[in-house]
């Protein structure tokens, strides 16, 4: 009996030891002095983060650990609490302009003007340089780094079903609806997809609302917004109902569950690259007020109280070099925020992407919407308003106007609390942006 028991203990200890031994060691040993930690709202998906670490950071001048943030709100509270408690673990912040904005407003970011002057030769567009001031007069709080947008991914098998007169590069929302209906009629399947468990709020904030109302907050419950939602209801009827659980569209595109999908370029690029023969990327559709689209500008900043500023600046310098910018384009589908020369030999996926992006930007009457600005800790709640609106109107079939009124009052409360002024394409406001 004792022997049996001993052998059992041995086996259990063995399993524990195996478990411990099987913990893979960290690939990059953390050199204490030069180690730089990047905290980022971008490249958070598992695939992207892996590529970022293994490819983009491969030749970095310092050993870098890359920490993806759960979401913008977490990012904000985390940085703010670290800076306030003076225990800053992050050396570099990577995020969207909208992520930096509330941090700068609360004085959490260092002034990077000297670095900006040093890096000016990278050739940032003037508009980006202006944005990096984040409303201040002459301080630059972040270095422009990457830009990205959202487009449609289309499986070529859907092309035969295009409605008459519609061109896949110049779709309107009504044509998209007709296209979906056509597919459903002929194949019996709903083949349009939206990342409802993913970035769907950006679709409403940057595409649907600007295209139909040329606004986001001021026009939230307007008549034209109601029209937009009426169109959406028709579109939703030919949308794959599994959309409610999609967080990225490349998976369902690749598996053939959907043929037409809207998403962030970085979340479509795998489909476009892996299945280059079947997949094309095209500009988002246009609405009655124009082609609303959203460009996100990502930058790099340094939080106040961060250790090792020199190494941090070196890392920022490194990441904005042409090689890295082009690598990010090739591998992660974010475009350079610099004048990095785009090579002619991009892979097919990235190439069709760049075409789609350009077409979207150059389209007549395009409305480049901004990522919501000035909401700070209310970001998550603000996005939730859009998500709830989507769910209530499309999934629960509640009456459009009353949902918009309901959610509009919640939104008004949030904007008020955050004190956020209007952002483009809404007309500027003096105080908190009024919900209309």
């Amino acid at each position: 009996m004792t022997k049996l028991w001993l052998s059992r203990v041995a086996i259990v200890i063995g399993v524990v030891a195996l478990l411990l031994a099987s913990i893979p060691r960290d690939a990059t040993p953390a050199g204490a002095d030069t180690a730089v930690t990047i905290y980022s709202t971008q490249f958070t998906p598992v695939d992207e983060a892996t590529t970022f670490r293994n490819v983009i950071l491969a030749n970095s001048p310092a050993s870098v650990s890359f920490v993806p943030a759960a979401d913008s709100s977490t990012y904000f509270t985390q940085v703010e609490s670290q800076v306030k408690s003076n225990k800053v673990q992050f050396n570099v912040l990577a995020g969207l302009q909208s992520d930096f904005e509330p941090l700068a407003a609360d004085g959490m970011l260092q002034d990077l003007t000297p670095l900006m002057n040093k890096l000016k030769k990278r050739g940032f567009p003037q508009s980006f340089i202006n944005l990096s001031k984040l409303g201040s007069k002459n301080k630059h709080y972040f270095i422009p780094w990457i830009t990205a947008t959202y487009v449609l991914g289309v499986n070529r098998r859907a092309l035969p079903y295009l409605p008459k007169g519609a061109k896949v590069n110049k779709l309107t929302y009504d044509q998209l609806v007709a296209w979906g209906q056509n597919i459903k009629k002929k194949t019996g399947r709903a083949m349009i997809g939206f990342p409802v468990a993913g970035l769907i709020h950006r679709f409403m904030q940057g595409y649907l609302y600007p295209s139909y109302t040329k606004g986001v907050v001021r026009t939230f419950k307007s008549k034209s917004a109601v029209k937009a939602w009426q169109m959406m209801k028709k579109l939703w009827a030919v949308t794959n109902p599994q959309s409610t659980s999609y967080s990225f569209m490349q998976d369902p595109l690749l598996s053939g569950e959907v043929w037409i999908a809207w998403d962030h370029v970085a979340r479509l690029i795998n489909a476009a690259s892996q299945d280059a023969n079947d997949m094309v990327l095209v500009p988002a559709p246009r609405g009655p007020r124009g082609l609303g689209y959203m460009v996100v500008l990502g930058g790099l900043a340094i939080p106040k109280g961060a250790a090792n500023k020199a190494a941090a600046e070196k890392v920022i310098d490194y990441l904005t070099q042409n090689t890295q910018e082009i690598n990010i384009l090739k591998r992660l589908a974010f475009f350079p925020a610099t004048r990095a020369p785009i090579p002619a030999t991009l892979d097919t996926g990235t190439w069709t992407e760049s075409l789609a992006v350009k077409a979207q930007q150059n389209a007549k009457g395009s409305i480049p919407a901004l990522v919501p600005v000035g909401l700070g800790a209310q970001n998550a709640a603000f996005n939730k308003v859009y998500l709830d609106t989507w769910n209530r109107i499309l999934i629960q079939n509640q009456p459009i106007q009353s949902v918009l009124n309901d959610e509009g009052s919640i939104m008004a409360g949030l904007v008020q609390q955050a004190g956020a002024k209007c952002w483009y394409p809404d007309k500027p406001s003096k105080g908190p942006c009024p919900v209309g």
Binding site: T244, S255, E257, Q396
Partner: protein, 312 residues
């Protein structure tokens, strides 16, 4: 509770019990010994269970600047997902428990017949006990997702070309069914263990006596086994119900927000929307439901003997 109980201890085989030894009074030091031994645990549980519970209530009523308010509850109940999530949680609970009980009871009875391979069955049947709700959700996701294994089998059988959308929000019934199957798969083991523990505490002679008197299998089950098993059944019911009310990771992994439930709402409010007050309000709803169902079981599933005992 009797002062000594024979259990399958490590040395159970060679230990023969002496006739019941009455409880023994010990000198004064020993009279406080049990309290001293229990004190650390009680203290710990107070700090990490009782105190947070009080805190939760406070948090749920906390407004800006430390004021007290019921606004959190107002906001919670006016969220469009609140009532659906209450409803879903309750339906989930009500549909799981009877199914799971029948299955668990059958499993316990089968093991208790002492059939050959009993050890093997016991091990396999307790495997899900090792599987977290999160992992269970993912496991069933691999089966029920549109291009998952279930649809693959249907396809191979020629029953479906592209597969069914079991996880679509439109198909409420299949959403529920999928979650219920996954949860039953994961948690029946626990119920089986509790029932089996109880079954093994019932002396075989009772059943044999009933056999001798010509009782059929069902009569025996109904008149001998079930009444004697009541304490186990009650514990299993209470634990199981409370866990069902808390259900969250299985559903998050399997159907995401297509099926809002209270646990997932609390998680989302804390984690995604960064609002601990409303999250706490949700947890209070969970607490109230738990207390109500426990009280229900305690009054409904009672032994006559216990009622007699209570008046003693």
């Amino acid at each position: 509770m009797s002062s000594r109980v024979e259990t399958a201890g490590a040395w159970g085989e060679e230990v023969t019990s002496s006739p019941s030894v009455p409880s023994r009074r010990r000198p004064r030091v020993e009279a406080v010994a049990p309290y001293l031994l229990l004190a650390p645990s009680v203290f710990f549980l107070s700090v990490f269970v009782v105190w947070p519970a009080i805190q939760a209530i406070h948090l749920a009523f906390e407004g800006p600047n430390n004021t007290l308010t019921s606004y959190n509850f107002y906001q919670m109940t006016h969220e469009y997902t609140f009532w659906p999530s209450v409803k879903n949680t309750l339906i989930f609970m009500v549909s799981i428990i009877p199914l799971e009980f029948c299955l668990a009871f059958s499993m316990a009875l089968i093991i208790n017949t002492g059939l050959r391979g009993q050890q093997f069955f016991l091990y396999v049947w307790t495997i899900p006990l090792a599987i977290s709700d999160l992992a269970a959700g993912i496991v069933w996701l691999s089966i029920y997702t549109q291009n998952g294994y279930f649809n693959s089998i249907l396809h191979d059988l020629g029953l479906s070309q592209y597969g069914y959308q079991f996880l679509s929000y439109q198909n409420t019934f299949s959403l529920f069914a999928v979650c219920v199957v996954a949860e039953i798969w994961r948690s029946t083991s626990l119920v089986m263990l509790i029932l089996l523990g109880g079954l093994q505490g019932i002396p075989r002679e009772f059943g044999e006596a009933a056999d001798v008197f010509g009782a059929t299998f069902w009569q025996r089950l109904w008149r001998i086994t079930l009444p004697l098993l009541k304490p186990s059944i009650r514990v299993a019911l209470i634990l199981r119900t409370i866990f069902a009310i808390q259900v969250f990771a299985v559903i998050l992994a399997l159907v995401g927000s297509n099926l809002p439930v209270l646990g997932a709402q609390a998680y989302n409010w804390y984690h995604s929307y960064q609002n601990p007050n409303i999250a706490a309000a949700y947890s209070i709803v969970i607490l109230v439901l738990s207390v109500l169902t426990t009280a229900f079981y305690l009054t409904v599933v009672r032994n006559k003997a216990e009622i007699a005992g209570a008046t003693r």
